[in-house]
Symmetry: none
Subunit: 194 residues, 4 copies
DNA sequence: AATGAATGAGCATTCATTCAT
DNA sequence: TATGAATGAATGCTCATTCAT
């Protein structure tokens, strides 16, 4: 088996295990078992347990960034772009609960460990939102007094919390589409009657 | 010293320690030391480490619920109520970073451990938001097609993510007031130009 | 059981285990078992495995220093003093093979770890020899051209090597008395015929 | 490259690595790297890690035996022979600290592993000393009551301890020549005034 | 109620050795 | 012969929990 395969296999296994048990409760031997690899093999590809978590996170978010950008590329209307982002995010989180979980873990459990959130994949991902906001403002479609740096956090946070709940309660009342529509609506029009 | 005092003292110490080190990295002896109590004493008041975390969370959120309700009691305009909730939450999180951290930890790290989120303090707190939404809909001030169950998640998630970032970056560009104003604005009016 | 007892018990157990298996092959759990103590208990009294070795060594050599000094105190003839030192050392090494072994281990295995051999127990012990030499020179009994700093190493090395062999071969041809007599003889008179 | 070259290359690399890190702290991969050979290759020439140590020791001591015997061959005076042995040993240990270190390690760390010290290179080397003593006794130059089996240990031990100290303290007060002269003197004449 | 010494299960990581290529 | 990726047994140390005092 080629090196690249094993690296990917470990990442995949780790994603699963971290999602199921959480970072601190996951044992290296769990990951090794899931990846059908010896414990020691993991250390040929990663420096330590935390390094695996970061790799998983970066890889998964990286994939999300690429796919989201691909979807947005064809679109020029910031309203549509916002809807696409929201729908894509929720769709992926629903489809891939492991990913949702790893984001939760990485973003919260390790707050104290990774302080530098500039120029990392998470920042890049969230900045897609702020660039959509800015584009909308340039096109005079979005209000000028919206602060992109705050709006991006609000939107990402909203999506993340919704995905978190999905991961806890297996059944949810609304479909992805309904939820995405609703969230897009809230962020575009607000809750006030016109 | 009365029993109730010691219980409170341990909670207070634990809040501090969990916030500083995170739940998994916190040691019982750290909490005991902080509370100026013997390690074993903690087990006279709590069943185990996780029980402490839950107690801390419930207590802190409980306090937040009481204070928020007290603020909302005097108000009848759902627009104002929403603003009050948002401002209160952000103010508390800014003032009490420990609390913000414990919410982060409790809500994410222990996803896998505590599945039942009905009838707990977190739910009660978030349901303040949905009841505000419902009230606004009854008063024909908020749009009818807003789903309170989703909106409450979106708003709480937005606030929580903003507080999370505050906890990572010591300096932030905007004041609590500016941020609260902005978030209230986004959720009331949306990002679209009228 | 009092703290002091447990500390001593662990030292005693460690001496035995290190002697039997060598420092690197000894497991903490071996020492714990021998001391009839939990693994973790060891870490209440020592910082780490190496710390145990150093403690064992310092304690054993310390005891040797005291006893040897007590024996020498009453004596003023440097010839007798040399004989006393040699006899005492060999007697102790024969009686307490663990001690002999731990000296071997500490002195050689950890050469690379502990470089500072000034002001430690080993140095103090060996310096008893050089002070005997100096005393003999002052009394015009020992030759002036003997360098005490070299002679002390030669004598200690000779004794140590003999003790080492005793630890390997269970049976030895000569008694402690014969050997001590012989060694004293060699160092006092040399091998040359008068 | 011929097999014999690779074998020698590994021995040479191992000597260096053992000396620098000690046997237990040395990794096979360190030796492989130093020898510019793959890890697995080492196992084509040696059975295991310990086998390498033994080989290094045997080879180094073997070389010493040959060279020492060559020097002694031309000499018939046991006094001179003793001086030659002592000088040669100290010179080699000063010149080749790796060798000194490996002797230290092999002789002490592995006491418990290798019990059979008859008919091995170490014994052969030390027996050069006893044969010098015996020769001196036959020639009526050395005292009859010297026990060669004890004297050889005493002399070797003295030399080894001196070399050990050299390996710890980089600077030493005396030159090899001074030291060799002094040690020869002590063992020939003793410390007593005539 | 309070203490804190003692416990011992638990786990990340290392590294000698193997073996398919 | 030679390689080096893969293996998995082995262990020092931590820390939540207990319990004799």
């Amino acid at each position: 088996m080629k090196t690249i395969d094993k690296h990917a296999k470990i990442i995949r296994a780790a994603t699963k295990v971290f999602a199921k048990k959480g970072f601190f409760n996951a044992r290296i031997s769990d990951i090794a078992k899931e990846a059908k690899v010896a414990d020691g093999t993991i250390y040929l590809y990663f420096n330590n347990k935390f390094d695996i978590l970061v790799s998983v996170f970066e890889q998964e978010i990286g994939r999300l960034i690429e796919q989201t950008n691909a979807l947005l590329e064809k679109e020029n209307d910031p309203r549509k772009m916002l809807e696409i982002f929201i729908t894509k995010h929720l769709t992926e989180m629903k489809k891939n609960k492991n990913l949702a979980e790893v984001i939760q873990i990485e973003l919260r459990q390790t707050n104290k460990l990774v302080k530098d959130y500039r120029n990392n994949k998470y920042s890049i991902y969230v900045d897609i939102l702020s660039s959509i906001i800015k584009k909308g403002q340039e096109q005079k479609i979005f209000r000028d007094d919206i602060l992109p740096g705050i709006a991006k956090r609000a939107i990402f946070g909203a999506l993340d919390e919704i995905a978190r709940i999905w991961n806890i309660n297996i059944e949810s009342n609304y479909t992805v589409e309904e939820t995405a529509k609703q969230v897009t609506d809230i962020f575009q029009l607000g809750v006030l009657r016109p």
